[in-house]
């Protein structure tokens, strides 16, 4: 049972990581002049889109999403609508936080917002997929005893890795090296991406090595 879940997690993570890779490589092959530094926004959106699509598909296929109580179309639609709303609100939330952290308010608002979209698709989207549009549950998951399944633990690890990665991505910005990747928000989005990929690898591994200690109360 456990091994089965871990294997499912590892393979889904492999698919997501592959989608990130494809979203970087494919446009580079197809579009002339595409590069991670040069056309950064394009890369951001292509990666965000790929991760969003693949994650939704994978989690839907795996059936992780908590079972809905009602099966009416209206309820499902309202759920979908709420999910979209949360996605958008989370973009705004990340945008605000990033601005408060010191990003320029007006000059590169588009860049900042793109970073917020990336962060949302890497973190909030996973929450939406695993927990559904339920903020209470999101807050509950990020506590020591809050995880109720392997997927919750995995969510904790990937989200923490992504956020920490984005946070560390801000470190090289003030340095006077004049490298292309120091331009806002390239280092942060790269950091978030690297953190996310690390999380994808680390989560199944960590869970695998700690499977003896992990106990979940329900489910």
């Amino acid at each position: 049972m456990w091994d089965h879940e871990i294997r499912a997690m590892a393979s889904s993570h492999a698919i997501i990581a592959a989608s990130v890779f494809m979203a970087t490589v494919l446009p580079a092959v197809l579009l002339p002049g595409f590069s991670v530094y040069g056309s950064h926004l394009l890369w951001l959106y292509s990666v965000s889109g790929a991760v969003t699509a693949v994650s939704v598909a994978v989690f839907w296929l795996l059936g992780i999403t908590p079972p809905t109580k009602k099966h009416t179309l209206g309820y499902k639609l309202s759920r979908l609508f709420r999910s979209c709303l949360y996605f958008f609100l989370s973009c705004l939330f990340f945008h605000t936080v990033v601005v408060l952290y010191g990003a320029p308010l007006i000059e590169s608002a588009l860049e900042t917002f793109s970073l917020a979209v990336l962060l949302t698709s890497l973190t909030t989207l996973r929450c939406l997929c695993v927990l559904g549009p339920n903020v209470q549950a999101w807050i509950r998951v990020f506590s020591r005893h809050g995880a109720m399944s392997v997927w919750d633990t995995c969510l904790q690890i990937t989200v923490a890795c992504t956020v920490v990665g984005a946070w560390m991505g801000a470190f090289p910005i003030p340095l006077d090296w004049d490298r292309p990747w120091q331009v806002w928000p390239i280092s942060c989005s790269l950091g978030a991406m690297i953190g996310f990929l690390t999380g994808l690898v680390a989560a199944p591994a960590w869970i695998h090595y700690h499977r003896k200690q992990l106990t979940y109360k329900c489910k």
Binding site: V99, L100, Y101, G102, I139, R140, F142, S143, R144, H145, G146, W167, A170, P174, L175, D176, D178, K217, C218
Partner: protein, 1091 residues
Amino acid sequence: MKGLPVLSLLLWMSSVFFVGLYLFVGGFLLVRLEVNRTSGCEDVLHPGQDPVDFCWARPRFRRAVLLIIDALKIDFARFDPNNTTPRPYQNKLPVLQETASSRPLQSRLYPFRADPPTTTMQRIKGFTTGSLPTFVDVGNNFASSAILEDNLIHQLGKEGKRVVFMGDDTWENLFPKKFHRSLPFPSFNVKDLHTVDNGILQHLYNTIIGDDWDVLVAHFLGVDHCGHRFGPDHPAMADKLTQMDGVIRSVMDRLQNDTLLVVMGDHGMTDSGDHGGESQKETDAAIFLYSPSPIFPGPPTQNEPDVVPQTDLVPTLALLLGVPIPYSSVGQVLLPLFPPHGQTEGAVRGLSQLEALWINAKQVNRFLETYSGMAKDIPPESLLQLKDQFSRLSSEYLSSVGEGRSPSQQLVSSLQAYLTSVRDTCRSTWAQFNPLKMAAGLSILALACLMCFLLSELSVVLVREDDGGLKVLVVAALAAGVGVAAAQLLSQGYMELTWCLAAGAFSSELLFFWRARRLGSPAVSKNGTKGPKSGGWLTPRRLLIPPLLVPLLRCASLLSDSYVIAEGRVVTFLLFSLALYIPVHLNWDGLLLPPSHDPLKSAGLLPSPALSPSTVRKESSVLLSCLGLLVGSLYLSLSFHGCREEQGSCQPSAFLSPLSRFQDSQLKNIHYVLSVVSLGLWTYLLRRCLCHYGNLNSSGGAVFTARWVLPVLSVCLGLHWAVSATPEDSFRNLGELIRMAQLALPRAAFCLLGLGLALIWLDPLTVFVKTRAAASSRSSSLPPPRYRASTGISPQAELHHLIPQIYQRMRRSLDDGELSGGGEAGGRPMVEAYGLGSVYSAPLLLFWGLLGVGLLLLHPEGMALAFLLLLLEMGALLHIHASSSTLRGLHGACSGGFTVPWTPVVLWSLAATQFFHATGHLPTFPSIQWGAAFVGFPDGHTGTVLPASLVTLNTFASHILFAVGCPLLLFWPLVCEVRGGRGGRGCGEEGEDAVMEMRLRENPQQFSSALLQLSTRYLFIHGTQVFASVCAAAILRRHLMVWKVFAPKLMFEASGFLVSSIFLLIGVSLVLRVDLSVGRWFQRLIPESSR
């Protein structure tokens, strides 16, 4: 509580830090006094019989061209024909060696040795003044870098020579308005290899051909920038040097016979292309002298110098061009350029070798006499020796000239020896880092940081001990210091205070560690609960928690010049991150939200909730809203930053300029109103806070201050702003009045401030006691106090038992009194005391607020907004701390002690640095707000102490405020307890009642240990920052930015630490003062009530 041990431990701790800093700074920052005198033509330097001064004699050269190639290392200038595979920097300047060997009568190439610090600005100073400039040339104005000492450019200008300059704009800052014509180009961008050089080349050749110059200075920067960017071993360097080769050739072709060409480097570079230090690679530049007409008497002989010191250029050029040698030059003329005695009558005219040396020696002697009269840093015995040497030489010279016989060659060499020994003496005094002192300072500081950490961990044990522990340390320090002093006196005959201090600090540190080892272990064995607390520190798991990781990052950021330049943003970033960490961590521990009543969860997995859900919800919302306030004020405070010159496209905040500079009157009015509103809010919020906790009811000195002094002070300040903002030409007839007001208002404010602070100090109690006649008659009906039962106990013990009872009752009646206006009687206790719960924090808060207004007086008006943000942020931090400790169930005796965790302390000290920047300050000398010295003294000062202290108070305002307010971190959770404590917390013997700060009186031991712990933690964080910047200065002492970024940062950080620790001591002693008077108050009260 035992106040004295706490205070003396803190004092000792900070003095150890001071000693470490003093040692390091003494070895690192070279200090020299500037002599503000200039040489003139009328100085008779010749022997008596020749009254005509030499300015009128025809000089050897009419004109000179100085080509300065920045960082022209001697290795670049040499040419080795046998080297078939040269590195990119080798053999690229063949012209120098070629000319020197093919035309030996006209040219020479020498190594040209610079004196450390080998940075461009110090070097330019060096080869124009002929002195050994250090980092701190006392007497120099920090605000501008212009050279005030006598120098070659000044002398040339005085003699009417037209000096034309082109190149590095550092010269323009050093010699403002001294050039006949100047073409400065920006030197700041190290990445830019060509702007300066190409700019020079556009004008150089035309200028040389033209005739409107006498001395031409061209300073090329490309080689130096190429070194910094690529290192010497790079093809770009080859290109650059080849270009310079072409430049030198073209210049040589265009010279006329009466012109001297000097090609030189100001310093060398290391293999990585940097400079600044004292290694030979950095100091050895090249100098090349050339003239189209023969200048040397013959081909190079054995008498040629191996190395030419950079100071020697000044006297040589001065005498060759016929101007007096600058006053403070310690250089020696370059003898091969002067004809030997007796050969002066030939084609070349000018001074002979001996004459030149004599003039030189007289000038150096005169400087030495003046300098030793001003400063005492040259060792007296060597001074005496030099004086003897000179008087011997002078009598010998005068006698030989008077008799008309030709002086011996020996006189020449002894004059040379004299000049060399003067320079060596000066160099050993001024121009060398003292690595031993630096290392000693570093290690004392490192140990002091460790000691501070141990002290904060062992505070419980240390306070339990008697004062004897400290006495031993101090005695050991004194013994070691006196021992070293005696040893020095015996062996050298004089003593150096520095080493005595170092020995004292070292010995007391080592003794402390030894005692700490001993103390640490019994603490574990004595009571098991303390075991993990004092035992397991220093494990990486305990140290690598985010609250300690953030200061670590902060310290690491001090090692990079980019981060130091962006320090304001960096600190805000870290502060924000750590603040966000608090709710995240609380949530991780499941404490942020009320536990859901899930039977599965409460079945033993979670500890039973100590707080009711409503309390938790309330505290969480307080925490989150305060976090919002904190984040908001952090973000707004970013708009008050100043700008460093390194930050290219930065606009300094508009609030930084004084109102009187505003042109637009409407804008001025808006700014004024904003400032006054924030000042008013500051006062209102403080009073509101005091009022809220019932501290404004009594009639003591502190309350008087809060009621009257604080508002009047604010009004005074507002009026002062209004007066100083009025334009001078309006209200012409009121001019006298305005001038009066400008003088009187700030002085009145100073007096009020002093009065307020003194009143708080003298009478800090803000407790209002209300004894009711009716109640006192009923006192017999109360149950007899418990202490009656124990008649055998000493009065001290009685007091100790009694106090809790009394204030329990007081507290109860206070609450009722506040609610119903004190209209109750009967069955109630006879004494009501308002404001007893915040008896410690109220005077401290008032003191703090008053000090804040005083410091605001020294700032530009617009900073009132920043100060308001500071107040808000401080309040937010305190409330966040209080809420999170309530949520964690930390405060109160039940969890053992009043420990303040690391997180709020780190936030507190980061906020101090953050507001240093948010009040418009920067760790650079040009950004010091000198205007503060003239507040209340518009006509200047007579002394230096008062303006210096005013400027210090202005600069470190935020350090001062956060240091004084530091003990509030200890009190605030207790002050806020009243809100949460009712929710049925079942811990503590007293049970249901909230007693706020009286808990501290209940546990005097824990009170003092918590106070000690809090202060040492605060000191520790500041101490590690100082240590990090000391490390940065020591490690990066040959970095390009060391004198621009790291050394000023070190000085600001060190002075900030000094000021912080002093004001922390003031804050702590105010708390102790309050404790003393609370004790007296209880003593007075108890006999009454038991009667």
